[in-house]
Every structure is written in structure tokens, then in C-alpha cells.
Amino acid sequence: MKYIDEFRDGSLAQKIAAGIGREADHGRPYHFMEFCGGHTHAISRYGLADLLPDNVRMIHGPGCPVCVLPIGRVDQAIRLALEQDVTVYTYGDCLRVPASGGLSLLKARARGADIRMVYSCADALALAQQRPDRQVVFFAIGFETTTPPTAVVIRQAAALRLTNFSVLCCHVLTPPAIAGILDSPEVRDGQTVPLDGFIGPAHVSTIIGSRPYEPLAEKYRKPVVIAGFEPLDVLQAIRMLVRQVNEGRAEVENEFSRAVDRDGNRKAQALVAEVFALRDHFEWRGLNVLADSALRIRSRFAEFDAENRFPVDYVAVPDHPACECGDILRGVKQPQACRIFGTVCTPENPVGSCMVSSEGACAAHYTYGRHKDV
């Protein structure tokens, strides 16, 4: 596949890995967090951890949109479908996230809720136009990458004066989540979760640019390398992080220069700013409540805000007591250290959200890495 195979070249990977081996100081460990689940997936799927020297370790971060979605948000979507009798459209990944009462969107559907998967929020809008007699809600989740398309459909719905379309907005932001991790007690003590740097997600930076990470790198003295999702991108980013650590630098560097620049996509940013405003606080699974870390729909577009249109207030619900997704999302624990990993909690019957999406740390280890536990 052109433009993809070039970034999956095994022999080149061996060379970069050998370079990391040469440059990493054998007298010290390196701990890097790949923030995004897409990177977690690439590392697991291509077996990249096997190529790294023993003293370079990757810690899985919380950047998987369904993993950080708290139970109460999925409950809202289910209540919309079951109690308010609306049709809920959402992305496929959301369907199996565990909610209250042993439900998930998929299980709610088996009980009669009208819940459907779409590939794009534009499809949800088109389907709302086809069914004017039916209230349609798009359950919008995701980081900065998926936010501009949601902004576009809300603007389109306004232009079309649709009265049967609204959005349950659960869009979240990457930089505040990284700050949330760096502020957590386990990272601040410098021992429980030693962190020497971050790999930042390239697709997020195609929208926001690399600039928003600069204050973080400076304040917390941690290097950040924005990287693409192909295996060679990830390896190259690790090498750049090792160099920064060795040279005592804490800068924002861009490995994904083929699509990311410092400023990002200004047009998309303007669209997002027009439709969305910061929520004062938002509960994340694993990271608790973080200020200014998520988006709400501006009052100008309030009629397209499902939380405004329907009586579905957010109710916080604690995670299953045995589930350790919170610790796993903050890098405090590895998936296989969770008491219920692979026994009670499996991809078929996920107890926690990290076991749901292929980008979740638990699902990635279960699917690709269990042979290493033998």
C-alpha cells in the first residue's frame, strides 16, 4: 500500500531500534508514555516493545476516547434511547462500553433501544433528515480529531433548521489530560510512575498543532514528541525522546512533519471555537474530574444540545469495585496486574472500558500480548 508500507518497513525498523539501543544510556531507565490508544495499538500489533532495549519502557496512557468515557456518560446515551425513545447514533467503538446495570449500548439495543452505528457524524445528520418524525441524537465522543466534524454537522443542522437532530457532546481535550496525569500524586512523587517524556498523537496535532504542548513541556520539564501511528513513526519518536533526555532537553518536537505543523488547522480550530465552549469540569474515567478538559455546545446552538433538549442529567457512577481501569489509565498499573484481567474481564465480557476498544491498554495486551505472561 503506497504511503503506508514505507512506514512499516521491517529492516528500517531494526535499524532505528539498533540506533535506540546505541543511544540509550545503559546506566539509566527511560519511561515514556504513549498518550494515545492508537500508539498503544501500533506498539502491540507490531510487537514494537520486543525491539526496544530492556531499559526503555513504554507506559500506556489514557488517550483512547472510549476508555476515558465514564459510566455516567454511556448511561446518558442509554437513557436517551430507552426512556426518551430517541434514535441514538454513535461510533462503533462506543457500543460495547460497560454502563450501569450490566448494560452497554449493544445490550440496550438487544432490549429494544434504537441504537445504531455510523462511520461518520455526517451519516447521522443525513439519517435525521430522512426520518423527520423521529428524534435523532448523535452520541459524540473523541479527542480533538473528531471534534471538527461534529462542529460541522451542528452548523449544518442549524442551517437546515432541523428540529429532530441533537448531539450528546462528550468531546475531550488532550493537553489538559496530559497535565492531569502530570499532576497526579503517582507521577509527582517521581517513583510510582516515573515519566521521562510523552509521545503525542499526530492526528490531534493536525488540528491543534504542536504549540499547545509547549507550556506543558516547559512547566513540567518533560519532552513531548508528536508522532504518527505507523510503527516506524513510533520508533523514531522514541529515539527522539531518548536524545532529548540524554541532552537534558524538554522540548516539543514534531516527528510527523508530513502533516503537522506548529499552528495546526486554523480553519478547523475556528469552527470548533464557533460551536463549542470549554466545560468548567468534566469527569474522566481514571483521571477524575478535570477542569477545562472537555467541550460543551455553545448556547447559540443550544437547541442541538441533547443535554438541553432532553431531561438526561449527568449522574456520576463509580466504576466496578474490582475494576482497575483508573490505575491503568494513569500508568500506575499494567493491564496484567489487574486482579480481574483475563479472568472476569475479557473482550467478550468487559468489566472496564480499557478492555473494550482495540486501542484500550487491556484489550491490546489481551489481544496481542498475553503470550508474554507465560
Partner: protein
């Protein structure tokens, strides 16, 4: 060896025995995962169907059942329900698919398919022109394969109670003496062969579904495989298992065999044939071709020393020109299917869990 983890030094956990949560027969409902071909379906079959209907033939656990016959030889019987949407897709339709699918289930047991039965569930409102097109396609497929449809049944249900047309076909074949292929026969050291490219059928269907809306040259591989099977038998290789990796894809089929035979497997990613267009479509949707359905491919496991001979015989057949040796069977108490990645790393190739859903970003 202890390993350094973010929490300090912890012992390596053992790969835990998978705990399978029992079916919740009181409150549970059927969901789409129960039909996707992965672990959930395997559980539904073992804990509900086999539990109530169990007998020695069902317990063989293969694509078809081997039955004693009054005369010489043995019979093989297999059945398959077809519910594909859309009914017509590039490379085929539900009609020819229903013929090929059941012929293949009989053929992969090593039997020669003889007769088919077909049951139709028609939805009120189905255009007769569509039904005519579907049945004509069945007839062509059956004629080409030399396996006639000898009996059938038709039911019509109210609009909304079915999706156009569902077709269930049942096939009967005869098994020559001495042939005993089963998913439980794989042994350490055996070679694993695949007859051709992965994922053509599943991606042809997905590309056709209206919500995707991209033009693609991907064509379903639906085909009857009994001719290919016959030429594999004729080459004299010691064949232990043959399966057609349909729903759940190659990954799920290999996991089923690994479990049935109580062995492990190691695949070589580099050797897996995938068409560039299928690869690209999978890439776009975040799918893995290893889990995408095939309708005209088979996977064979044979004695190590016979692998080259079997490969040559397969490649000589037009339906297996891209055949490849893709891995080996080895001893593994965990029955893991693993793969050496093109990078030289190693990873698991697990069962499909749930339906393969596209990722969101």
C-alpha cells in the same frame, strides 16, 4: 525473569486461564456478537445448542458431521444459513453464496458433495425480480458445481420480520474410506497452508453497504471449493485438517482448530496474502484482514514433510494460485495462535471478540 514495570519490580503474572462467564439464560439477550463467529458464538453453540441437542455426531465439532451409511463409505452432512445484506454484491449474491457455502462445508470434511436442500424465508414485499435473479444464480452455481438442489421449502413472513430473503442450505456428500479430516487432528510440527488472499468477501460486502460510499474494485471470492479439495486429495499429501475461514476470518478458524487439537500455532505475517485494495479498505476502517470473512478460501494443515507437495498441488488449481505456507503448529498448553510480525516482533492472534467494529479516530 522479573521485569521492571512502572510500579517497580513485579513478578511475571502467569497467563491466566480464561474464565468464561456463563450465559445468562435468565436475563441475557441474543446480541450481534452471538452471530459474529468469535468466542461469543462458540459459547452459545457449546452452552446452549450442544447442551440440549448433544450427541456423538454433533460432538465432532467440525463444519459437517460424518455419519455412518448402510452401504460402503460414510456420509457427511452440513448446513448453513445465509442472511447476507446486501443481497447482491460485487462478485455474487445470496443465491450463489448459499450454494457455495454448504458445498464448502461438506468439501472441507474431505467428502464429495452430492446433493443440496434449500429452505427460503421470504419477507413480504420482496420483488419477484430479485427472487428470480437469486434463484437463477443458485441454479448456475449448483450446475457449475455439479451438485443439484434436490428438495426445498418456502416460508413467507410479514414485512419487517426478515430482511428480504434468508436461505438455509443443507448438503450431503460421501466420504471415501480412510479419509478422516477434523479440526482435532493438528499435531506439533504440521504446516499450515492458505489457499489465497484474505478478506475479499467481507470487504466486498462492507464496501457495498451504503453507509461507506466509497467506490472499490473489491470482489467477493465466493466459490465452490470441492474441486480444489479433490486435487489436494489426489496429490497424496497427509492432510489432517481443512477448514473454510468464513465468519470471524482466518484468525478465528485457526483458534478453533488450536483449541480442538490442543496445540499452539505460529504464523509468519510476511507470508499472508492480502490484495492491496482489501488492505487499503481495512486500513481505512481500522479492520484486520485476519478477521474478515472469506467465502472461497480454505486453510489446510498437513504433515510437515508434505507441505511443499500440497502447496504445489494447490497452486496448480485456479482457485488457489496464491496459496502459501503461512505457519506451523507447535506444542502449547495455552493453545495460543501467535504471529511473527513483519518487524520480527511477536504477537498473539486472538479470537474475534464481538463484531469487528471500525475504530473512531
Amino acid at each position: 525473569m522479573p521485569r521492571i514495570t512502572p510500579t517497580g519490580v513485579t513478578r511475571m503474572s502467569e497467563a491466566r486461564k480464561t474464565y468464561v462467564r456463563p450465559l445468562d439464560l435468565k436475563h441475557g439477550c441474543v446480541d450481534m456478537a452471538h452471530g459474529a463467529g468469535g468466542r461469543a458464538m462458540a459459547q452459545l453453540i457449546s452452552d446452549l445448542f450442544a447442551r440440549h441437542l448433544g450427541n456423538a455426531y454433533l460432538a465432532q465439532g467440525d463444519d459437517g458431521a460424518v455419519l455412518p451409511a448402510s452401504g460402503a463409505g460414510r456420509l457427511v452432512m452440513a448446513t448453513d444459513a445465509h442472511v447476507v445484506s446486501p443481497l447482491f454484491f460485487p462478485g455474487g449474491d445470496i443465491g450463489c453464496l448459499a450454494v457455495h457455502g454448504t458445498i464448502n462445508d461438506v468439501a472441507v470434511m474431505g467428502a464429495r458433495p452430492l446433493y443440496l436442500a434449500a429452505a427460503f424465508i421470504l419477507e413480504e414485499g420482496l420483488p419477484l425480480a430479485d427472487l428470480d435473479r437469486i434463484v437463477r444464480s443458485m441454479a448456475t452455481a449448483a450446475r457449475t458445481a455439479g451438485v443439484p438442489v434436490v428438495t426445498g421449502d418456502t416460508k413467507v413472513v410479514e414485512r419487517g420480520k426478515a430482511d428480504g430473503v434468508f436461505i438455509t442450505t443443507t448438503g450431503v456428500g460421501v466420504l471415501a474410506d480412510g479419509v478422516s479430516w477434523s479440526g482435532s487432528n493438528a499435531r506439533p510440527g504440521d504446516a499450515i497452508l492458505l489457499s489465497g488472499t484474505l478478506g475479499d468477501h467481507g470487504m466486498a460486502i462492507m464496501a457495498e453497504r451504503e453507509s461507506l460510499g466509497f467506490a472499490s474494485p473489491i470482489v467477493s471470492d465466493t466459490a465452490a471449493l470441492h474441486g480444489l479439495v479433490a486435487s489436494m486429495q489426489a496429490c497424496g499429501a497427509t492432510i489432517r485438517v481443512v477448514r473454510d475461514p468464513t465468519r470471524g476470518g482466518l484468525a478465528t478458524t485457526l483458534n478453533e482448530i488450536a483449541r480442538q487439537s490442543a496445540v499452539g500455532m505460529l504464523l509468519e505475517e510476511k507470508t499472508l496474502p492480502v490484495k492491496p485494495a482489501v488492505n487499503a479498505a481495512c486500513e481505512l476502517l481500522g479492520l484486520d484482514p485476519l478477521y474478515v470473512a472469506n467465502e472461497g478460501k480454505l486453510v489446510a494443515i498437513c504433515a510437515e514433510n508434505d507441505a511443499e507437495r500440497l502447496l504445489t498441488a494447490m497452486r496448480a488449481h485456479p482457485l488457489a494460485a496464491d496459496a502459501a505456507i503461512i505457519g506451523r503448529v507447535f506444542e502449547d498448553p495455552h493453545h495460543f495462535v501467535q504471529m511473527t510480525t513483519a518487524f520480527g516482533g511477536r504477537r498473539m492472534v486472538d479470537w474475534l471478540s464481538g463484531e469487528q467494529l471500525p475504530r473512531i479516530c
